[in-house]
């Protein structure tokens, strides 16, 4: 703001262009210079909003989320049994004598995967690169959700406080950082993104 005011005063004294016009021109130039970044951010926001709109549809819950969470609960129970725990799963519930929990919306790998997909699709790259990015980035995010469920089981078996800490404070930011990290590594590798001679190194 102070920069704008100073410039305006100087231009007025020198009898130059209208200060308001100059400010507008500079703002437009600033926006133009960052057009690609702004376009990425807007497109990302649009795609993420589309996902959250889709996620409130009953059909999403019935045909995508619940079946996916059921598979997650069953898979987590299998893994926990492999680790020597006496657990079973029924529907969205998984647990045993030590701890019992329900895998719900928000504890799924779909939301982070959707965020990753939105970031990849919004980034300027070829369709082939985007497909490669999606196929390489989404499976690890979905797999990481098994790690989340397993760790939450052990945290819950330890104490309620540990469960709350892992459930509410550690896993949500960790997932977002994983999404950001996967996207950054992919974006740095795209030939469109990397400086000449650095692509695919």
């Amino acid at each position: 703001m102070s920069l704008g005011r100073g410039r305006r005063r100087r231009e007025s004294k020198s009898g130059g262009r209208d200060p308001q016009e100059s400010y507008t021109v500079r703002t437009l130039a600033w926006l133009r210079a960052r057009r690609a970044v702004l376009r990425f951010v807007l497109l990302f926001a649009l795609l993420v909003s589309a996902f959250y709109l889709l996620a409130v549809l009953p059909a999403y819950r019935r045909f995508i989320l619940d079946p996916y969470l059921t598979v997650n609960a069953a898979g987590a129970a299998t893994l926990l049994r492999g680790l020597g725990e006496q657990v079973s799963s029924r529907g969205l519930s998984v647990g045993g004598p030590r701890f019992f929990m329900e895998v719900g919306a928000g504890c799924d790998g779909i939301e982070p995967s959707a965020l990753f997909a939105a970031a990849v699709l919004a980034f300027p790259a070829t369709a082939r690169r985007k497909l490669l990015g999606l196929s390489a980035g989404i499976p690890p995010l979905l797999a990481a959700n098994f790690a989340r469920i397993l760790s939450l089981y052990y945290a819950g078996a330890h104490s309620e406080k540990a469960f709350d800490l892992a459930h509410l404070s550690l896993w949500p930011p960790l997932f977002v950082l994983l999404v950001g990290g996967f996207w950054a590594v992919w974006a740095l590798r795209t030939p469109e993104a990397a400086p000449a001679g650095d692509a695919d190194r």
Binding site: F40, V41, A127, V185, L188, R189
Partner: protein
């Protein structure tokens, strides 16, 4: 300490190592900030309640809100009493200064302090980023209160059209009840405050710096 400027010349393995090291350092710092919560809890909760009171004490002509910090030691440590002057009805909302404020600020701080750029730039970016994050959280709190004041119960002071009410509910659900999306905002604030345009050009080449080679959706 590697710098962001060196990233593009690094190979894929080195990029993965840098990303992993940033992730680990951020999570370690974040965990340290979480461990410090008992130290900050009282002051932060008090500040949260005061800021809420200052921003949202009055809501339209009839709505009023009174924020009060609870001494229970619970995560939901701020009580907001929403009242309607006309109907003389009140409802109470339990808010968490930890989940609705401190943790996001902690992640933002951890991200900035873990970024491999000169310390002077990190320390310069930190207050600006924390200000932006807190402005975002104030906005989310405003959405929560607007949603509560438009629910059609005795404290309702605004009647919103159906689609607006639906979008408000959706935004409130994903920004205040679920915890993933606010961290995405924190990530954007980090990018905005830490990276300069030259860093973006160095990291991402010309694709985001100049719009000439775009091939979006």
């Amino acid at each position: 300490m590697p710098t962001a400027e060196r990233l593009p010349s690094a190979g894929t393995a080195r990029r993965w190592r840098l990303a992993a090291s940033l992730l680990v350092r951020t999570m370690v710092l974040y965990a340290a900030f979480l461990a410090l919560w008992p130290v900050w809890q009282e002051a932060y909760g008090r500040g949260y309640a005061r800021a809420g009171q200052w921003l949202y004490h009055s809501f339209g002509r009839d709505g009023q809100v009174r924020f009060r910090r609870l001494e229970t030691g619970d995560a939901f440590d701020v009580d907001a009493t929403l009242g309607n002057r006309r109907t003389r009805q009140t409802v109470e909302l339990q808010l968490s200064s930890r989940y609705g404020g401190y943790e996001l600020a902690a992640l933002e701080s951890a991200l900035i302090l873990a970024t491999p750029i000169p310390w002077r730039r990190r320390l310069r970016a930190l207050p600006f980023a924390l200000l932006l994050v807190h402005l975002f959280m104030a906005l989310v709190l405003g959405l929560v209160l607007t949603s509560a004041f438009s629910n059609g119960d005795p404290v309702a002071v605004v009647q919103l059209p159906g689609p607006i009410k639906f979008l408000l509910g959706l935004a409130t659900q994903n920004l205040a009840v679920m915890y993933t999306l606010p961290y995405v905002v924190a990530l954007f604030v980090w990018g905005l405050t830490v990276f300069r345009r030259a860093d973006l050009e160095a990291l991402l080449g010309s694709s985001l710096a100049s719009p000439t080679r775009t091939s979006y959706l």
